[in-house]
Structures are given as C-alpha cells and as structure tokens.
C-alpha cells in the first residue's frame, strides 16, 4: 500500500519537508497530493525572496514515451529537454508551468515569463514564498497534486532558489508510479544542488518563452 511521500531530509543550506499523501481511487485517478517545503538554516546565505522552481517528466506507460501535451498546454512539449548523455541531461523534463497561462515574449520590453511554480499556482492558503534575513527565516513551499488514471511514471526535481540572488539552496528529487490504479515505487532524495537536467530544462523554458538572455529573445 502506498504511504505517500513524507518526511524530512537535510541539505547543507536547510531542510526539505515532504508531506504528500497518496491518493488511490479505484478505477479512477491516482496521484500524490500535498506540500513540499524548504526551510533554510541559520548558515544559509540571505535572500529576500526564496522560491520553488520545479521540473517534471511524465511517462505514459502505454507508449513508453513522454506524455504528449495538447490544447492550451501543448507548448509544454516544446519546453522539454533533449537527452544529452555527454552532459548528463535526461530528455523529457520541462519546467512545471501552465503553458495556457503564459505566452512567449514578443518585444524587448515584455516582462520575463516566470519559471516559478507559485506564479502559476499560488495556492495561497497552503503554500508560500520564503526568505532568510539573518535569524529571520521563513520556508518556501508549494502545493501539488499530480496524478492520472493511466499507468504512468511521474518524476520531479524541485529547487529552492533565491529569486533575488540566483542561488540554489537545495533540491529534492521525487517520483512515483501508477500501475493498475495503485501508487507504487514512491521515493525521494534531497540534494545540495541541481542536476544538469534541471539547468537544461530552465534553459529550454527561457528559449521557448524568449526570455532575456535566451538566443530567441526579441
């Protein structure tokens, strides 16, 4: 029986707390529902704006390939990483965002399109951005509910990042599978820094949305 993805793990700059409950509906949708939270420790560098940025890969077991996004979310397909074994980049990951809510920049004066999770799903009553100003510390969190009715594998890498200093405070990799309307193989691990795949996904996001600094930027 699935136990959810729960617990606390420390990294150099703080601690991750996972509080995701497994949801299993017979013949229906299965998934994980709840919060992820990173709290910086006293030794972490200061930031006025600690935020969570997440990449994701969804594999459809019926095809063995990445889920094909359609409708308003079709642009997620373009935002996926391309596998590059020489650089340690896995294919099929993309920044977890709502493509239906975002449009590529068309002119230089346009604001950058945000890759941060809560700029799409603020879930104000159950999640927040954080900060670390000396002894004044507030963790950053997000609320999530990935799940599907089909056999599939969900993989995530979530980073706590200072939006003002660009520093990654820590990351967490978490995943689960859906098989026969059951949640299986839940796992998670905490890390000090992000993967090459994470960087590649953010780069691809910037290219797709023509953010400042990208080769596609207007």
């Amino acid at each position: 029986m699935a136990s959810g993805i729960q617990g606390k793990k420390k990294v150099k700059a703080g601690e991750w707390e996972m509080n995701l409950a497994a949801v299993e509906a017979a013949g229906g949708k299965c998934g994980e529902r709840g919060t992820l939270k990173f709290t910086p420790n006293a030794k972490a560098r200061d930031t006025n704006n600690l935020r969570l940025l997440q990449i994701v890969k969804l594999v459809d077991a019926s095809t063995g390939g990445d889920y094909n996004w359609s409708g308003g979310e079709a642009r997620r397909n373009n935002a996926m990483t391309t596998e590059d074994k020489s650089k340690g980049v896995e294919g099929g990951f993309f920044v977890d965002h709502s493509a239906a809510a975002a449009s590529p920049r068309s002119k230089k004066g346009d604001a950058a399109v945000s890759p941060y999770y809560r700029d799409y799903w603020p879930n104000t009553s159950s999640s927040q951005d954080g900060h670390k100003k000396g002894a004044n510390i507030q963790g950053a969190s997000l609320w999530d509910f990935p799940g599907w009715s089909q056999d599939s594998t969900f993989r995530f890498e979530t980073a706590a990042k200072g939006a003002d200093n660009g520093y990654i405070y820590g990351t967490v990799k978490w995943q689960f599978e859906i098989s026969g309307s059951k949640i299986k193989n839940e796992s998670w691990s905490a890390h000090d820094g992000q993967s090459a795949t994470f960087d590649a996904a953010v780069d691809q996001f910037d290219e797709v949305y023509k953010n400042p600094g990208a080769s596609t930027a207007p």
């Binding site: 949708k29 998934g31 529902r33 704006n49 994701v56 969804l58 409708g71 308003g72 977890d96 709502s98 239906a100 809510a101 975002a102 449009s103 604001a111 950058a112 399109v113 945000s114 890759p115 941060y116 809560r118 700029d119 799409y120 799903w121 603020p122 879930n123 104000t124 009553s125 159950s126 999640s127 927040q128 900060h131 100003k133 004044n136 507030q138 963790g139 969190s141 999530d144 509910f145 990935p146 799940g147 599939s152 980073a159 939006a163 003002d164 660009g166 520093y167 990654i168 820094g193 992000q194 960087d199 953010v202 780069d203 996001f205 910037d206 949305y209 953010n211 400042p212 600094g213 990208a214």
Partner: protein
Amino acid sequence: MSARLRGSRGFPSRVGLLVAATALALAACSSSSRSLPSGPDSEPNQTPVAKPATDHHAQDRKGMTKASAEQIRDLVGKLSDDPDPLHNDMTPAVHELGKLGIQILPYLEKSLLSADEMTRLHAQRALEAAVNRHFGFQPGAGWIPREGEASARQAFQQNGSYDFEDDPAARQAAVKAWLDWYAKTAQ
C-alpha cells in the same frame, strides 16, 4: 552548483498595473469568527496588508470581459472536465473562470457545496483564481505588486478560508461569507 540568473529571477514591477489595492475591499469583507494568521507560516516581515485603495476593481477590469451568465454556467458545468495530469486541481474551465474574475462567484455556490470532493476542489481553485486576480495575481507573472498576495490571503481568511476538505458546516459558512463579500465588493 549555483544556478544562473537568466530567466528565473525577480521580475520588474509594473508601475500602475495595480494600485495597491484593498483597504476598501477588505473593509467590505464580511466578518469572520476565525482569527487572522498570516498564512501557512507566520510572516513577521510581510508588508502590512491594509493600504489606501483608490480602485479595487482595477485589476478585475484589466484584461477581463463581462461574461454572460450562460457563458459562466457553461464553464461551471465543465468544471471538472479534463484535469491537468500534473495538477489535478486545475482544469481548462477553472483556468477560464479565473480569467473572468469575481463575477463568477455567485455561480460557484453549488459546486463549492457539492458532495463530490473533486468538484469542490475545482470550485475552490476557480474561486481562488478569480479572487487572486482581483488582488493583482497574473498567471505566469505572479503578484503585481507582490504585496497583493498578503491582501488576497487576508481576504481568504476573513471569508472563512474555504477548504474543500472542511466539514460541511465550515464550507457552508465560508461560501456565505464569500457571497456576502461579493455582493458588497461588486457594488
């Protein structure tokens, strides 16, 4: 490994997009017996919520159209259709309803009180999307200004902090509070 700044840093504020909203709106919020914690955690340094408001409907008017009752009812009827596998609480109808702003609130009553948990969750997200926009949230850009989140959070708390998992009495009370808030705010 440190991250690069490109494309993932703070965003420039947009002057004039939203006059720091809400004292009037918040004053119009119906009273609640619940206390007013600041959020998931305490936020000791957060900017005080109450600000002079000159036009708390400014954000509602920005980019929003007056929808017909038929259009809103149609979207509410599709509230739980085709959820995003990455975000089961979100559906295309939730997204579209959020765009329409707080005018949708009266149409969400039955869904917020539904016996079906997922219907309530989707209705909650539509409610939140509409109210968040009212206080300056722009999907893909975040809160403009940033302090808008504190205003939205306070409004949610003052109106009973509707939660799809709450017991029916709490949900009923929160729905009544939101409908009262809408009746005052939409005047």
